[in-house]
């Protein structure tokens, strides 16, 4: 290999040196990470920088409950140094297949397996478990990434985990995390200030996707468009929501692009509430980073709230 390169390289040495570096430096030293969802893939990139190579199992905005354990993901698991997922049962429909058939013992448990939601306390841990209540996760609501405070906790754990897997660069991971956290924390207070007007607002959400966002911003969820988690809205359930929305003065109806706007618009037309479509994961339109995800979400919420108030008055 070397001799061949030398032979070809001799005429234009400088250029070839660059080329060789480009070919040789990446991959070998980098931590290979398979992220189940883009929020964690993005966090890994923001913390790990050039030291990590991230591949996402799902596209931004895809429903993470229902990803198929496609063969190319098994190939990714096979070579991964870390599998980085939400956990808390969000991926029960496909992650076990990846871990069991990926032929890679290193990522079947910690440290090679990192489950973000299980690094923090979770909301909505059910008291009783019955499938008749719909798709309820025994370990609580897994959609933790919409609370930036929890994300900071997770980012610290993640940097430690990177350090454990790649001790040579341990300091670099910690430094990068510190720098990231400092910048991120500064923005959190901005976002909280922008969202101050939303505090105490009653909303209806499509799924329990937004619990952590609402908890963070002090908004109240009155009900969901889904009659039960994982079941599509029914006319009967929507009819009860019309009454409920008026009684409890619901201001906004929150949904994601994959939910479709049918049910939300239907309810918005019949109540004083306004429907607002929100991005859920980084990579959806206008949201390249975690920070831009929060600012976009808050901006859309505030704008929708203002417009809604103007329309109704």
């Amino acid at each position: 290999m070397n001799t061949r390169f030398e032979r070809i390289c001799r005429p234009a040495q400088g250029l070839c040196l660059l080329l060789l570096m480009a070919v040789a430096t990446p991959s070998s030293a980098q931590l290979r990470i398979l992220a189940c969802e883009t929020e964690w893939g993005q966090l890994a990139t923001e913390i790990g920088g050039d030291l990590v190579q991230v591949k996402n199992a799902s596209a931004p905005g895809q429903d993470a409950h229902h990803i198929q354990a496609r063969p190319s993901l098994l190939a990714q698991v096979r070579r991964a140094d870390m599998v980085l997922c939400t956990g808390a049962e969000l991926e029960t429909g496909w992650l076990p297949v990846l871990l069991n058939r990926g032929s890679n013992p290193a990522v079947r448990q910690a440290p090679g397996l990192f489950l973000a939601a299980e690094q923090v306390d979770r909301l909505e841990i059910p008291v009783t478990l019955d499938r008749a209540d719909g798709d309820v996760h025994a370990m609580g609501n897994p959609h933790v990434h919409l609370d930036p405070h929890r994300v900071i906790t997770i980012s610290r754990q993640l940097a430690e985990r990177f350090a454990q897997l790649d001790p040579d660069n341990a300091d670099a991971y910690r430094q990068q995390q510190q720098a990231w956290q400092t910048a991120f924390e500064a923005q959190i207070s901005d976002w909280e200030a922008q969202a101050a007007s939303l505090k105490g607002l009653n909303v209806i959400t499509y799924h329990r996707t937004w619990s952590y966002l609402l908890d963070w911003l002090g908004m109240n969820r009155v009900d969901e468009l889904e009659p039960k988690p994982g079941l599509p809205p029914t006319p009967g359930h929507l009819a009860t929501l019309v009454r409920k929305a008026d009684e409890q003065q619901v201001g906004l109806i929150l949904y994601r692009p994959i939910n479709g706007d049918d049910a939300a618009s239907w309810l918005a037309k019949r109540t004083a509430a306004c429907a607002v479509e929100l991005p859920f994961s980084p990579g959806e339109e206008g949201t390249n980073t975690l920070a831009s995800l929060y600012s976009t979400v808050i901006q859309r919420l505030s704008t929708a709230r203002e417009q809604c108030l103007q329309e109704t008055t």
Partner: protein
């Protein structure tokens, strides 16, 4: 009945294990162990006096043999209400070295059958995994699917004609290697006893066949007179190759090839004119598969579609080791035929899926005894299914089959209708691709 209590005890035990687990950060806590019961039943009808299922099983084939090891019961499906097999499964990690899977079926009569019981290594390096025990062969894409994850209520005619209703499974060992590449490339090798195949690679119950021959011919024919070699050790070897390029998050394609050899297949033939003979030899099976899936962009499966197709070709070279006419001993008997199916499924609305399937058996089939060659006639099956997924745990399905079957007694064109429910109680295992 006794087995049922064992199963209930298992269920009770596993739920108490689950209840005892706290929400600690043990990553696989929620996945381990998983226990589920699958309920399956249907209302069935056809316009051939309830013989629809039996006619399909008797479709013309180069691989018909009498006196099979497990004489198959015909016409399992009756007009009206049918309780299909109730399946119990239990799976999970044994420790950090192994995971294990158990599945057993209880028939409507209460018979208990161990379908799968395997352990699989989880700590071998270099992308290697070993599975041991009783397992479904990876010989085909559809073969590894459990009936509750089928897109149709019944087995397709292609599989039915070559592998039987339950497909290929066996007791043995499977070694797989997953290549360290961006594309998925998996090689597999299976060695199994090969003593329970229903069609291709089937063996006969020598004692039973000897009795039949005695009854037919008069003079006593013993098991030894059949000159069959000892069925000793593993008889079936299967080699598989699967490849899947990385097409991103919205779609996936998987291509596969397989080749199998059964070293000691046996058949018993009864020809017109009172000719009776037993043959023995080896059987080769070659398979090719392609599966394309476009994942749903909407919720509850809306907008997702898939196409899967498989082709198999089987070829058996046997010799008469016993013949009612001693002059014909050593007569070469060969059977060969292909089978194929293609199915397409589309999630046209949230929770609703429509599926179309076409299957054929006896493709290019020939059965030869010495110089005489008989062509196998082609049989076809066309199906349409409409499935409503109430949740991922329960579904209802309406299916229509139009069959054009060539059997022993001429050809028959007829319809079948299935109204099926399929529910899973308990842990719902993650689905493979």
């Amino acid at each position: 009945m006794k087995q049922f209590y064992v199963a209930s005890a298992l269920l009770a035990a596993s739920s108490s294990v689950l209840a005892a687990e706290d929400n600690s950060n043990n990553p696989l806590a929620a996945f381990n162990p998983a226990f589920s019961v699958i309920f399956d039943g249907m209302y069935y009808s056809d316009n051939v006096k309830g013989e629809g299922a039996a006619l399909l099983e008797d479709a013309d084939s180069a691989f018909h043999s009498h006196g099979g090891h497990e004489e198959h019961e015909h016409g399992d499906l009756k007009r009206g209400f049918n309780l299909n097999e109730t399946e119990l499964t239990m799976s999970g990690s044994v420790d950090s070295y192994f995971d294990a899977w158990l599945s057993a079926a209880i028939s409507s009569e209460g018979d208990f059958e161990l379908e799968e019981a395997w352990i699989r290594s989880q700590s071998l390096p270099a992308g290697l995994q070993v599975k041991a025990g009783r397992f479904l062969s990876a010989i085909g894409y559809h073969n590894e699917k459990h009936p509750h994850s089928w897109n149709f209520a019944d087995q397709n005619l292609a599989y039915l004609s070559l592998f039987g209703d339950h497909g290929v499974s066996g007791d043995g060992i499977q070694l797989t290697w997953l290549a360290p590449t961006d594309s998925y490339l998996q090689l597999g090798l299976e060695i199994t006893q090969g003593d329970n195949l229903e069609r291709v690679g089937s063996i006969i119950d020598a004692e039973h066949v000897a009795e039949d021959i005695t009854a037919e011919l008069g003079p006593t024919v013993t098991e030894e007179d059949l000159n069959l070699s000892e069925q000793d050790g593993p008889q079936l070897g299967v080699f598989t190759l699967r490849f899947a390029p990385d097409l991103g998050t919205q779609r996936a394609l998987q291509l596969g090839l397989s080749a199998a050899r059964h070293q000691d297949s046996q058949s018993f033939h009864e020809e017109g004119g009172g000719e009776l003979f037993v043959t023995e030899g080896d059987t080769d099976v070659y398979g090719a598969q392609a599966v394309y899936k476009h994942f749903a962009s909407g919720q509850y499966g809306k907008g997702g579609w898939s196409i899967a197709g498989e082709y198999f070709y089987a070829d058996s070279d046997q010799e008469a080791v016993f013949h009612s006419d001693p002059a014909e001993l050593g007569l070469p008997v060969t059977s060969e035929q292909g089978a194929a199916y293609v199915e397409a499924n589309y999630g046209f609305a949230p929770r609703w899926q429509v599926g179309l399937r076409t299957a054929a058996s006896g493709i290019g089939g020939e059965f030869s005894e010495g110089d005489e060659t008989e062509e196998v006639r082609l049989s076809r099956q066309h199906s349409a299914a409409l499935t409503w997924y109430a949740t991922e745990f329960s579904k209802l399905r309406l299916q229509f089959n139009r069959n054009d079957v060539h059997g022993h007694d001429g050809s028959e064109e007829y319809n079948q209708v299935f109204l099926q429910y399929n529910l899973s109680l308990g842990a719902h295992g993650a689905h493979t691709f």
